[in-house]
């Protein structure tokens, strides 16, 4: 009896296993045959593409959309639009946030399991796909099918936008354009501290240094303790403090043109002065002593707690700055035009901002459909009659615009919104605002501090962008993929740079000789070779 019972148990378990496996096998097979069928049979228009998108289905706004309207990522206003107007159905095969998306994409590349149309986030992956001939050429299709509107949006910043996806003179990817103004580094200052200590807004980097000193020495928070810091710094200062380096025409993250050659900004002698300044500030206690072990989030704690009066960062740091208000009621933040060594306007180096590229797997039928989808997409948001309240932000859900299988923004969207709001407020024509300007203005009216801080009139990041774009902007001299040597040795070369620069700021290495040693070592590690390779890869005009 007992034996029979055990056998029955075991048998049922085996059944579960077998059924589980086989039903899944079956599922997989029917899926793929269905795809093939729809490619050939039926009307020639109806077609299903498998898609890969760097988009997090667990995002708060995705759940909100589902709750409010019943729409999901795989079946929402965007996918329905593409199906109705173009007969294109979307089947997501890879879908996750960027960290795991890049991983999944690499695995898919290695195992030959790519979706029909997918997003590529990293230039090195793009390079591999192009070299392997795994993706369709798209440049001629773009020329043929893209609407004037689409072309004007994609190329509005610079024609060089296709550089990273060009291989052997042909274009293989479609840029997912974002506002390059995202690359600005702004100087944020506690204006209430300035007022309290009777200080002027900074024009030169010398002023910044003096303000930082006053913020530390003169007890700006008025608690009688010497517990404040002058300027926020963290272990990723190369990125997070770019604005300070720019003051000296030093560009730590960019390729710049110098002596007729493209060169790495971080190994240029212009870096020495800002490093010496940071070293001095560190020595005098104006900076966090422990910055070497703090990431941006950790280092910003002191700012949010109302203990640090200045920081460099992109415009969306407003969301972090806003939290200061809960800890210090008097806090008032401003951003100022970037102070420089001479007081002249700063040069602002920008990379062309894109959320990667959309590509079409080699052999996919009708690759031009990607361009057609893009035409339709931009028509809804930036066409003659854009409906922002349906396609951009709607039903209390932020970011409907990125919940589409393909997407792209007008690079001028943020700046235009700021300009429109500024003009409308000045002329008293707020009610006639449209598009993103209206969206932002409504948010400001509803008391959204961060939106007001970023895009409103006054001393805001976009006020500075308005004054400096595109006059002071300098596009990166090289926009393509990392060179082979960089791929192979980049991480150890980077390690050398980060550790040496950190140690210079901490005063353990001399700014002058230590920097020269680092450059020499970097060159012998492969820096020289990388520079040569990159110069060979730079498109000659």
């Amino acid at each position: 009896m007992a034996k029979q019972l055990w056998m029955a148990c075991l048998a049922s378990l085996v059944m579960v296993l077998v059924v589980g496996c086989s039903s899944n096998n079956g599922g997989g097979n029917t899926d793929s045959t269905a795809n093939n069928d729809s490619n050939t049979a039926d009307s020639q228009e109806a077609i299903t593409y498998t898609f890969g998108r760097n988009m997090n289905p667990n995002d708060e706004n995705v759940s909100k959309l589902e709750k409010n309207t019943g729409e999901k990522l795989a079946d929402n206003r965007w996918t329905r639009l593409f199906k109705e107007q173009l007969g294109i159905s979307v089947d997501y095969k890879m879908l996750s946030d960027s960290t795991s998306y890049d991983q999944k994409l690499k695995l898919a590349m290695a195992s030959g399991d790519l979706p029909d149309i997918f997003q590529v986030g990293q230039a090195s992956d793009m390079q591999q796909l192009m070299e392997a001939g795994a993706v369709e050429e798209i440049g001629t299709l773009y020329d043929e099918y893209a609407s004037d509107l689409l072309k004007s949006i994609i190329e509005s910043e610079t024609k060089r936008v296709f550089e990273p996806v060009t291989y052997d003179g042909k274009v293989y990817g479609f840029p997912i354009k974002m506002p390059s103004t995202n690359g600005y580094s702004h100087l944020w200052i506690r204006e209430d501290w300035l007022t309290k200590l009777g200080l002027e807004r900074p024009k030169t980097i010398e002023d910044v240094y003096n303000i930082a000193t006053a913020f530390v020495k003169n007890d700006p928070d008025g608690n009688g303790k010497a517990d404040t810091l002058g300027l926020e710094i963290d272990n990723d200062f190369r990125y997070n403090m770019q604005g300070l380096f720019w003051a000296y025409d030093a560009f730590p993250l960019n390729w710049i043109e110098k002596d007729g050659k493209v060169q790495r900004g971080i190994v240029q002698p212009e870096m020495k002065e800002p490093l010496a300044l940071l070293q001095k500030m560190f020595k005098e206690g104006l900076l966090d002593k422990e910055f070497g072990s703090k990431d941006n989030g950790k280092a910003m704690e002191s700012v949010v707690a109302g203990k640090t009066g200045m920081f460099y960062g992109p415009h969306w740091m407003a969301f972090t700055a806003e939290k200061t208000l809960a800890n210090d009621k008097n806090a008032k933040w401003i951003t100022v035009p970037l102070p420089t060594k001479t007081g002249e306007p700063a040069k602002i180096p920008l990379k062309i901002s894109a959320d990667g590229w959309m590509v079409v797997k080699k052999g996919t039928k009708h690759p031009e459909n990607l361009i057609k989808m893009m035409n339709l997409y931009v028509e809804q948001l930036f066409g003659a009659n854009p409906d922002y309240n349906k396609w951009f932000t709607a039903d209390d859900v932020q970011g409907i615009w990125w919940m589409s299988p393909v997407y792209s923004l007008d690079p001028m969207i943020d700046l235009k919104a700021h300009q429109d709001i500024k003009k409308a407020v000045a002329d008293g024509t707020e009610s006639s605002l449209t598009g993103s300007g209206k969206g932002f203005y409504d948010a400001i009216q509803q008391g959204n501090w961060s939106i007001n801080m970023m895009f409103g009139p006054g001393d805001t990041p976009f006020n500075f962008v308005d004054a400096s774009y595109p006059g002071q902007v300098m596009w990166d001299a090289y926009l393509g993929a990392p060179s082979p040597t960089e791929v192979a040795r980049g991480s150890s070369m980077d390690e050398l740079l980060v550790t040496t620069l950190t140690s210079i700021i901490q005063g353990k290495t001399k700014a002058e000789s230590g920097f020269d040693d680092m450059v020499a070592k970097w060159n012998s590690l492969g820096g020289e070779q990388v520079t040569e390779e990159i110069n060979a890869m730079v498109p000659k005009n």
Binding site: A2, K3, W6, L13, L17, G20, C21, N24, N25, G27, G28, N29, N54, N56, P57, N58, D59, E60, V62, S63, E66, K67, Y92, K93, M94, L95, S96, D97, S98, T99, S100, Q103, K104, L107, S111, G121, M178, P179, N182, D236, Y239, L253, N296, G297, E301, S302, V304, A305, G306, W316, M317, F319, T320, K323, A326, N327, D355, G399, W402, S450
Partner: protein
């Protein structure tokens, strides 16, 4: 047998308690910290003002988590995975360990099989071959991709095998004489006697399934199918603004809410913490059993 302790013994006791107490505190403090974070106002958390006690107490993060569909979906997948996976693991451990615990006289190929199993502990195919295998088997995006690749837990088999060997041979002989088959001997003699070991292994497997995140990350094509820890990994991982897309950086800056993350971690840890007390008694009896026999 009450004896007076010598001074040395007393000293040792004091030192022992102090040391173990310290270790316990070190283990507990991170938990307390996360609990404090999860009960604090987000602006206080972002300002680094919260240490071991909530600042500006609020239950808002928990409300938020309770309403979060993505979290509960991931939670459900993990429960499913832990149940199915642990059942398969324990069953296979018992079925494999039993024959391998026999002497070479009664099972000639025994050491060959042991070596085959042992070999897989030292070498494996690597990530990409595994990925291709799972893909070709059609397991992608299914619960089986999470439970089948790790179905045979060799480490646990070795534990179990050694435990079975400890079982007195006389029991086996007696069962044999009474006409029991191998099946019956296994399920009616060996398994009941080995409950402490089975409980331990169950716990190992359960915790393993509960905590693993990497397989979910790569075998699930859509993040909608992530088990809980993969889901948590994507929200708590330190992000690098330089490599992520501008859209995402902006969104994360907006949503980076450590009190909510803390609340999700706590809610995710509770079920597995609740399992321990139930299996505790087996651990104790397991230890005692061993000492009596020894």
């Amino acid at each position: 047998m009450p004896t007076r302790q010598t001074r040395g013994q007393k000293l040792f006791g004091v030192f022992n308690y102090a040391f173990l107490g310290l270790v316990a505190i070190i283990c507990i403090i991170p938990f307390v910290h996360i609990i404090a974070l999860s009960l604090s106002d987000n602006s206080a958390v972002a300002g680094g003002l919260v240490h071991l006690w909530p600042v500006r107490f609020t239950l808002e993060p928990y409300n938020y988590v309770l309403e979060r569909q993505a979290f509960w979906r991931a939670f459900g997948i993990t429960i499913q995975r832990a149940t199915i996976g642990t059942l398969i693991n324990v069953l296979l451990v018992i079925l494999i360990a039993f024959p391998l615990s026999k002497k070479v006289e009664s099972f000639k190929m025994r050491s060959v099989y042991v070596w085959i199993f042992f070999f897989t502990m030292l070498f494996n195919g690597g990530l990409i071959p595994n990925y291709i295998l799972i893909k070709e088997l059609g397991l992608m995006d299914t619960i089986w991709a999470l439970v089948l690749p790790g179905a045979v837990t060799v480490f646990n088999i070795i534990l179990m095998l050694n435990f079975f060997r400890e079982v007195p041979e006389e029991l086996d002989d007696a069962a044999n004489i009474d006409g029991a088959t191998h099946w019956r001997t296994l399920w009616q003699i060996y398994v009941p006697v080995s409950m402490p070991a089975i409980a331990t292994i169950t716990l190992f497997c359960l915790v393993g399934h509960w905590n693993s995140w990497f397989d979910g990350l790569i075998y699930m094509r859509s993040a909608e199918n992530y088990p809980l820890q993969s889901y948590l990994q994507t929200i708590v991982v330190e992000f690098n603004f330089q490599t992520m897309t501008a859209t995402e950086a902006e969104r994360l800056a907006k949503l980076n809410d450590r009190s909510v993350k803390g609340a999700q971690m706590i809610v995710a840890a509770i079920p597995i913490l609740l399992v321990y007390p139930f299996l505790q008694k087996y651990f104790v009896s397991g230890i005692r059993l061993g000492s009596v026999k020894g």
